[in-house]
């Protein structure tokens, strides 16, 4: 009887939703094949974990460089390669080239693609213009792959810096279609000076991209395109009228309660939401069972909080949306009324873990603001919110009833006011962690998190908005967190209890994505250029190798002809390279002061290389 009812219900669903396509079989299936690395996050849960164990705790010390590949591009190299069958796809910073390398043939180049032709991007803007509105270096975080459901025999998706989404034939590199999402140019209020750095995200028959530009007064959005032809399926803005945000005021919830009508408009002064920021450029996840996609939104614009009173909804928010319609199921705003540039864009890791003794379908998020959040990913209930660096001081704690951080007046740049230098705020604007993604091992049940350990002074002041120009309005001075000289830590985190298990100090911010494996080994890279392998349980160092340049890319692993390979892009840059190249403080060593002066440019120089190791 029960099964008949179920069957009837299923058929009702079939009739009611004739247009709904089945899940993307190819990616759902192949994300479980450890021989490949089919999406930037490893799998739809963003675990960055591999079941391969040929390289393991016992033998990782004997790792050797197998081969490497120069991208021919300077500037910061974030992200990492995809491995589909025996083809490896790797991207570069601006001009956003893509290379397909043949693993069967000593990594010979099958094809290469360059979206910039004659110095001009597909949007019609020059490369020079696009570079000039990149917030923090020319970075790009990688390409996505799809097969079937409109993507044919295989399509590579590239989100170029000029905001153009480009579909390439995976076999030949030929363009299938391209569509410019926003506008890197000038003159368009709330749109101009937008750029693209985040990965495309494939779900079923659609591919989605976010947008960057919160430092330029862009009102950002998440947009899904149909893979078949590049037509737009839906767009959801981070702020504005309900219709623009694709919310249902009665059903979309925040802290388990409906958000109500005009939830965003009521939280901004006047029309400031039109230039409100809320960029989306991190790493995304999809729970196919719940059929929800997850991403985070960035800072409200400008950096001067005094001029934009209100909660500035829904900047700084974790969003859960239906991938077919875009309608939001739940939001959680981590930093209402941001006063420090704590973007909420970092990766969303989906893990079925015990939270305070109870099994949960959880979402774990390490935010720029220094708190690590564990949510019920189905309902949006806040389960855990704890500091993952003890120096975090801008808020004492998160009130678990309201979800609000309890802000300390002394570190509130709005409370201190315009033209006042608020000092000693931890973390700095680059956060306790930026986009560099953490890894989760279902085997050890531990989250491995690359972090920054930097504090700041912040002084807001008044600026004018001109479409297409920077719109910042605050000064920053960053320095090492008090009591030490290390600018980073690599930590192990228990997301069920909200506790640091162990922490490895690093001289510089750890700006590379981590990788955990079934070989009980965890990999990460450092800004000086060291590739490191550590014991997944104890954190003990097992292997260190100095690459050609500082590492801000993410580690990946795959298997080819029976051999496991580990790879990472080196190529220093990004916000870390900009902030730390010359060091953070005056060299006062001669005065006998604590030697906090560390200049990254004494350790490493530019240049993109894909490094590949095997036993």
């Amino acid at each position: 009887m029960k099964s008949i009812v179920k069957l009837v219900l299923v058929c009702v669903a079939c009739v009611a939703l004739p247009g709904v396509v089945q899940a993307n079989d190819w990616l759902l299936k192949n994300q479980n094949d450890p021989k490949q690395w089919v999406m930037p996050t490893g799998n739809y849960s963003a675990h960055r974990y591999s079941r391969l164990n040929q390289i393991n705790r016992g033998n990782v010390g004997r790792l050797k460089m197998a081969w490497n590949f120069s991208t021919g591009v300077l500037r910061g190299h974030e992200g990492g390669p995809l491995v589909i069958g025996s083809t490896l796809y790797i991207h570069t910073p601006i001009p956003n080239k893509v290379f397909a390398l043949d693993l069967d043939n000593d990594a010979r180049i099958i094809w290469e693609y360059n979206p910039v032709k004659g110095g001009v991007y597909p949007s019609g803007d020059t490369m020079d213009r696009v570079i000039s509105v990149m917030c923090c270096d020319n970075v790009n975080r990688g390409v996505a792959y799809a097969e079937g459901q409109g993507a044919g025999d295989g399509t590579i998706f590239l989100h170029a810096a000029d905001t153009t989404l480009i579909a390439l034939d995976a076999k030949t590199g030929r363009e299938k279609w391209k569509v410019t999402n926003m506008d890197p140019g000038t003159g368009n209020r709330g749109v101009s000076a937008s750029t693209g750095t985040g990965v495309p995200f494939v779900v079923k028959d659609k591919v989605g991209i976010g947008c960057s530009g919160a430092e330029f007064g862009v009102r950002c959005n998440w947009t899904m395109y149909n893979m078949k032809d590049g037509s737009r399926a839906w767009r959801a803005y981070s702020m504005g009228p309900d219709d623009d945000m694709l919310v249902d005021p009665r059903r979309t919830t925040h802290m388990l309660k409906p958000i109500g009508r005009d939830s965003s408009l009521d939280s901004w002064k006047g029309d400031q939401w039109e230039t409100g920021g809320g960029s989306i450029w991190g790493w995304y996840a999809w729970d196919p069972k719940a059929d929800l996609i997850y991403y985070g939104t960035g800072n409200p614009s400008t950096w001067n909080p005094v001029v934009r009173p209100g909660d500035n909804r829904w900047s700084m928010t974790i969003m859960a949306r239906n991938p077919d319609t875009g309608v939001a199921k739940w939001f959680y705003q981590m930093t209402p009324f941001d006063e420090w540039d704590y973007d909420g864009v970092n990766e969303m890791i989906l893990a079925d873990i015990k939270v305070k003794g109870k099994k949960r379908r959880a979402l774990v998020h390490f935010d720029r603001n220094g708190f690590a959040y564990t949510m019920d990913r189905i309902t949006g209930e806040l389960l855990v919110a704890e500091k993952y660096d003890p120096v975090v001081n801008w808020a004492t704690h998160v009130d678990m009833k309201t979800g609000r951080p309890q802000v300390v007046d002394r570190y509130s740049t709005a409370h201190q006011g315009e033209d006042v230098n608020t000092t000693g705020i931890c973390p700095a604007a680059l956060g306790t962690k930026d986009q560099q993604p953490a890894a989760y091992s279902p085997k050890s049940n531990i989250f491995y998190v690359p972090t920054n350990h930097v504090c700041m002074d912040y002084e807001p002041f008044r600026v004018d908005y001109v479409a297409g120009n920077a719109y910042v309005g605050a000064t920053l001075s960053m320095y090492p967190a008090p009591g030490g000289t290390n600018l980073g830590n690599f930590i192990a985190w228990d997301a069920g209890e909200g506790k640091i298990l162990w922490s490895i100090p690093e001289p510089f911010s750890v700006w590379s994505g981590a990788l955990a494996t079934a070989g009980d080994v965890v990999f990460y890279g450092t800004l000086e250029g060291y590739a490191k392998a550590i014991d997944a349980k104890s954190g003990k160092n097992l292997y260190t190798f100095k690459t050609a340049s500082g590492i801000i890319g993410n580690f990946h692993t795959w298997m080819h002809e029976g051999k496991q390979y580990v790879s990472v892009l080196s190529g220093v840059g990004g916000w870390a390279g900009i902030g730390l190249a010359a060091g953070l403080t005056e060299d006062t060593a001669g005065l006998g002061a604590v030697g906090a002066y560390k200049a990254l440019h004494n350790y490493t120089k530019l240049g993109g290389v894909l490094n590949v190791w095997s036993l």
Binding site: V73, L74, R75, G76, P93, I94, P95, T126, M127, D128, R129, I131, S132, V133, C135, C136, D137, N138, T186, E215, W303, N421, T423, D457, E459, F461, V463, D464, V466, G468, N469, A470, Y471, V472, G473, A474, T475, L476, S477, M478, Y479, G550, V572, G573, G577, I578, G579, A581, A582, G583, L584, T585, E586, T588, G590, L591, L600, H601, L606
Partner: protein, 177 residues
Amino acid sequence: MLKKWMYTLVLTVLGASLAYAADNRPPGVPAQYDDDDNPTYYYALGDSGNVLYYEGEGENRKPVYGWMDFATYRGWRTYHAECHVCHGPDAAGSTFAPALKDSLDYLDWEKFSDLIVNGKTEAQGAQVGNAMPAFGNNPNVMRDLENLYRYVRMRHEGKLRRGPRPPKLAKVEEVDE
């Protein structure tokens, strides 16, 4: 045309012999120009507890206390809002763009201001794979164009330390003649 005040670096050096108490900050001065009409900075020395710059090397390195003028402070502020995201903190350079404190070796006021107004492409000599934006239409930069030069010049000439906000003299309104 702005009225030019007769404060010069000579006066600054004289000021060095005066010691002000922490609560005895000297009065502010208007924006300064050098003998060739180029924007320049001003500072007054005194034991405010605030380090303005360091002099000497190694064992002989010692802090010098004082205050910078408000116009140059505005340059510091605009630099750290608009320029540091590429050129790094304290005009000290980054992996992305050159150290402007050193660029003044070959950039005079005219070239410096022209670059900020009009930008520079790779073809015009920007770093490989890079470009300098044109800020000519950005009022937040243009209103502090001279002050940016004052600040970078002060860093170039070693009269301003790195790090958190430097101590400043009071604001003085400029008077049009």
